[in-house]
Amino acid sequence: MLARPPSHSPALGPGCAGPPLAEASSVSIQYPAQPTAQVPTCGAASFLVDHNAVNAPGRDPSQHTQMPYVTGSSVLALTFKDGVMLASDTLGSYGSTKRYKSFERIRKVNDRTVLGASGELSDFQYIMNLLDELTTDDFCEDDGGMLSPREIWSYLCRVLYNRRNKQDPLWNSLVIGGIEHGKPFLGTVGMIGTHYTDDHIATGFGNMLARPLFREKHSPDMSEADAEALIHEALKVCYYRDKQSINKFQLAKITEAGVSVSEPFALPTRWDYKHFENPSANAVGTW
């Protein structure tokens, strides 16, 4: 068996860097148990603890996990007749600063899966590293096999849930789209491991702004052109109303033919709508 890279500690679970199993098992034969801080010298049973907690008694619980730094906004996704479509803008916000304007938040995972992410973008890059390890393993196997979208989705559910159980969540909402046995697959995972599959999905603000549109106009057997028009409309709605977004989008399509992630594009916008002139008039209690 090939030793797992350190990003998957047998003791701490998927997505955690750390020591091998404290107790010997067939998994830890690859790594003979080394004396570590986790094995008490008095001979008591070994256990796993957080080093920081041990070394700094009286310290407050760590707070860094509650502060995402560079974040991405909504990801929108829907199924259509022969596949799945994902779209998002390419902005990485530093607080409310539009810091990175060409950050690709939708990436190809393998020949039938695409991953889109909102939330902390460095965590997204880490997740992509995890997935790249898996796809490289598949590549080396050289038998034409690869992870299906559902497998990738399940895997990410475990990674995100495991990390939240370590009080160190990966600050993302992920959307996994792909094609499996000729049928479209669309699933999502939240930062605490909440997950579901659906025919249309939106993360972040998109959940409020785009999903009502999807519920109204989406049907699983719609054509590619209709789906694209709908997702363009939804992107525009998000762009009009979400301050953390820019008019530079990417659209990914996954069909039986393969995966394509588009070059960034802009959508035509209008700002002279009657309703835009005095927005507070229609929202009592705002200013």
């Binding site: 890279p5 390890e133 590549f139 080396c140 050289d142």
Partner: protein
Amino acid sequence: MSGIGTGYDLSVSTFSPDGRVFQTDYAQKAVDIGGTVIGLRCNDGVVLGCEKTVVSKMLEEGSNKRTFAVDRHAGLAIAGLSADGRQVVNRAKSEASNYLSFYGDKIPGHLLSERIASFVHVFNLYWYARPFGTSVMLATMDRAGPQLYVIDPSGTAYRYFGAAVGKGRQGARTTIERLKLEQLSCADGVKEIAKILHQVHEEEKPFELELSWICEASGNEFRRVPADVVAEADRLAKAALDESDMDDD
């Protein structure tokens, strides 16, 4: 205590009086009697080719793999004992993925060859260990361009323009030396390797060609050469062989 080694061939921890480590020499011998493996560094990539004798009529085609990708940009061909070779392949895989997770970049060819060599060498240092009966050819593509390395059972690693190990190495090497490798593309390299393997193959048993490459055509990733390309090279090689037989008659 009599025989060729006269007691100095029992472990790798003792030199013979004339400065040899017999166990290492014997491991090299295990490679020398195995199927021929050829590597060519062409002007646009590297091609590795193996001659796999078909040991039984009941053998499934494509079994007993001898070329392995260890990362997207690197792959090995193993000569000699294939079971020993797979251990080296596993190690090379971990080295590659470890390097990537530590440095965030793919492992350069020269480092990978060094690390494989160190791993192999360790088995030449302790009386309780047996050297690997395998030489591995490493094909990589990185910033330094395409590179070909050969690591032998003693743990020495050399970089080559073209190399051959195994049973037919002598004949193969003289043919490789005559090739103009800097003008040879991988597409032609595949044909040359097929030709050489047919040339050096001993008549009785049939053999299967296993070819892998890393070049533009494989997307700069280490991949098996597509079946139709191999079949075409095989056909050409056989034709060339028949022709030269006719000339001899």
